[in-house]
């Protein structure tokens, strides 16, 4: 056992010491901060609101209401918040189209150009009748801007139409509220405080963590085997360690590195959530400017965390063992491109099956997928986050995954045992079969 520990320690220490690891680990938090701060930072840099011209083809009465509403829209909530728009009203009457054409020429010019405007809002009597308005601008492709605009224009339009129909808008608007569907998850007969969406997103995130860990670290196991073969140190190693000890030490060592990196990233994300206002302030973005992506982490229910950790460990071991076997049957990294295809396919299938069980988390498909060892690590945490899995079924899934893991480790160790000392050509399927059967 101390020998395995020596291998684990070597894999761990040598990896953690590399520049790639240090940089990669630090880049995670930098990336998170960037994601949270940058959008807000960019938004707050736009000091003046968008210049829009409201062209009213009617009397100008409705246009004035629209203009007032646009002028009142603020970025953020504070008293010192900037206006989103700097509107100007043009009552064009019957000459609306000519006014529009002449103003289009001044739209979307560079900011410094004299008299440049960002967009045109057009309203007319017939538009009010149909509940229509139009906007011409450079930013029509931005869903966020258009949602903003619709949000501002829509109540004005509704109020106008209600008034014209002789209904008191105060009464009517008070009565017309959209349904707000509050969701709270019931888990094993207990009401929890989480909304369904948050847990589900969390489970998805975990699936992706597994996916990324496999891509980053599973392949590291593979290249580390190839490295040992091409260094020719393998023969010294196998004279004192069994291939199984070597395989186990390598997989666990690399796994520990991945846990450390993910741990650092998760801690950074949690700190970022807890101290988001302070961090924003440090970057000169006032909380009032808002707008930036609120960095939310739903709380992790304990049962889900436990299930995730179990399946993460099982999945990581299973795929890493397969990657090690692939490394041992190849001589160069180039050769592995093709050889690792079957493993990649399973990883991608695992990722896709997370989506496949959305509608029926406890349906037949989901149940079957939970019993397939290479897919279960992806499927089960997501399933559990949507609807708790009965304990019996969960145990069965874990048992089948462990059985699959043992089988794959057994096969991998046999391929590994012969493969690590074979140089030159890549092993054929026939060779592999011979290696597995060899006593």
């Amino acid at each position: 056992m101390s020998k395995v520990f020596a291998v684990i320690r070597r894999e761990f220490v040598e990896r953690v010491r590399t520049k790639a690891f240090v940089i990669g680990t630090l880049l995670g938090p930098v990336f998170f901060i960037g994601m949270a701060v940058l959008p807000a930072l960019l938004l707050s840099r736009e000091t003046t609101g968008r210049k829009v011209v409201v062209i009213d083809a009617g009397t100008g009465e409705f246009g004035a209401k629209i203009t007032a509403a646009l002028a009142a829209a603020k970025k953020g909530t504070g008293a010192d918040a900037e206006s989103k728009f700097v509107p100007t009203l043009v009552v064009a009457g019957t000459r609306a189209e000519e006014v529009r054409d002449s103003l289009v020429r001044m739209t979307g010019l560079s900011k410094r150009a004299e008299g440049s405007i960002d967009g045109l809002v057009m309203v007319s009597e017939s538009g009010i009748a149909k509940g229509q308005a139009s906007y011409l601008g450079v930013n029509v492709g931005s869903p966020r801007d258009m949602e903003d605009l619709r949000g501002i224009l829509s109540p004005v339009m509704m109020t106008e139409r209600l008034q014209r129909a002789g209904v008191d808008p105060v009464v009517a608007l008070g009565a017309v509220v959209p349904l707000s569907l509050e969701t709270r998850k019931v888990s094993e007969g207990k009401l929890t405080n989480e909304s369904g969406g948050a847990t589900f997103a969390l489970a998805y995130a975990m699936g992706f963590i597994l996916y990324i860990s496999l891509l980053l670290y599973g392949t590291q196991v593979m290249s580390s085997v190839i490295e040992e073969k091409s260094n020719r140190i393998m023969e010294i190693l196998v004279s004192s360690l069994t291939p199984f000890q070597l395989l186990l030490g390598k997989v666990v060592g690399v796994g520990a590195v991945s846990m450390l990196q993910i741990g650092v990233w998760t801690t950074a994300a949690k700190l970022l959530r807890d101290y988001q206002p302070q961090i924003m302030k440090a970057f000169g973005v006032s909380g009032a400017a808002g707008g930036g992506m609120p960095f939310m982490l739903p709380s992790m229910p304990t049962d889900l965390l436990v299930i995730f950790l179990i399946y993460f460990a099982l999945g990581f071991l299973l795929y890493s063992a397969a990657y090690a076997a692939i490394g041992s049957m190849c001589t160069t990294i180039q050769e592995t491109q093709q050889a690792q295809m079957p493993v990649m396919l399973f990883i991608i299938m695992g990722l896709m099956s997370m989506f496949a069980l959305l509608n029926e988390p406890n349906g037949t498909l989901a149940r079957v997928l939970s019993l397939i060892p290479p897919l279960a690590p992806f499927v089960v945490p997501v399933r559990h986050s949507i609807a708790p899995i009965p304990i019996g079924e969960l145990l069965l899934s874990i048992a089948s995954t462990v059985a699959g893991l043992l089988l794959i480790v057994w096969v991998a160790a046999r391929i590994y045992r012969v493969g690590i000392l074979s140089y030159g050509k890549k092993a054929s399927v026939k060779d592999l079969w011979r290696w597995v059967r060899a006593s």
Binding site: V7, R232, M234, S239, S240, L241, T242
Partner: protein, 317 residues
């Protein structure tokens, strides 16, 4: 009869295409230095790998330190320097040695202390904290050597340990090997350099084409090979010596190396007539020594020029 530490019994190993080792038997007694000799591709490394339980023999058995279960479980008692040598290039020298010792079950603290002593002994003290990739090939070989010996094994198996070393380093290593044997430990090494084997080994096995050709102590082998030999070193007119050496009534066999030669005297010749003939021809001599056959000439006689095969084992392994 000394205790047998390695017993190879009727071992055969085939690779797709050819037989690397054919029905080989040999036994290594405890203590002393055992030489496994043969030309390139003779099956030396394959034999050693079977002893090390890296390859399984197709036929026959190998017992090491009394166990047939394979040497891996005994790795703490065996030091092994494979022919295919390698280290982790990015590891620090000291970490590398400690790691190798740990895989043999040596605690870290002990390994660190011994590693320091070994590095100092082999003039590598300044390189302790350097990365392996910064070392020359010869230095790396010394590190591998340390890795094979640090755990003080009772049996040391070295596959071509002196190849690729300069004369000074080669001498240092040979002294260490002799030193180990003096401590009562057993050394088995393979080589194709006869000079090393002749100077160091107590017992020799020569294999060619995977088969055993010679087996015995150095004295036994020389006695058995028999005949009187003369070692010659020429100082001038070496070309005229050729005519004399071609006389089959004087000389039965010649190994001509240019400035030196080793000849086997014809039956019933004492060497006097040969010396006389050479002097008469005006050949200048700085050495004329009647002696037993050298290992080199025994090797040539028993293995022959066909003994060397053009391919190395690992192509097939």
């Amino acid at each position: 009869m000394a205790e047998t530490v390695i017993a190879v019994n009727g071992v055969t190993k085939r690779f797709s295409g050819h037989t690397a080792v054919k029905n080989l038997s040999m036994s290594v007694a405890r203590g002393g230095i055992f030489g496994l000799l043969g030309p390139n591709g003779a099956g030396k490394s394959t034999t050693i790998r079977m002893i090390m339980n890296i390859f399984m023999p197709d036929e026959g058995q190998v017992a090491v330190l009394g166990s047939t279960a394979g040497s891996r479980g005994l790795s703490a008692r065996i030091g092994y320097l494979p022919e295919e040598r390698g280290l982790y290039p990015k590891m620090k020298v000291i970490d590398q040695i400690i790691f190798l010792a740990e895989t043999k079950g040596i605690p870290r603290a002990v390994a660190r202390k011994r590693a320091g002593e070994w590095l100092a002994r082999l003039d590598l003290g300044d390189w302790t904290a350097k990365k392996v990739q910064d070392l020359s090939k010869g230095m790396q070989q010394k590190i591998q050597f340390i890795g094979a010996l640090l755990h003080e094994p009772e049996l040391v198996i070295l596959d071509e340990p002196f190849s690729g070393l300069d004369p000074v380093n080669s001498k240092t290593m040979r002294e260490i090997v002799v030193d180990i044997a003096r401590q009562g430990r057993t050394v088995l090494f393979s080589t194709h350099i006869m000079e090393h084997a002749e100077k160091m080994c107590d017992h020799i096995v020569i294999i060619a084409h995977g088969e055993k050709r010679v087996d015995g102590t150095l004295a036994e082998i020389k006695r058995e090979f028999g005949g009187q030999h003369v070692a010659l070193t020429f100082t001038r007119n070496a070309e005229r010596a050729a005519r004399v050496l071609a006389d089959r009534t004087l000389v039965s066999k010649v190994s001509d190396f240019g400035a030196t030669a080793e000849v086997a005297l014809a039956a019933n010749e004492s060497g006097d007539r040969l010396l006389e003939a050479l002097v008469r021809e005006g050949v200048g001599l700085s050495r004329f020594q009647v002696m037993e056959a050298s290992l080199q000439s025994i090797f040539e006689a028993r293995v022959g020029v066909d003994g060397a095969r053009p391919f190395a084992m690992r192509e097939e392994s």
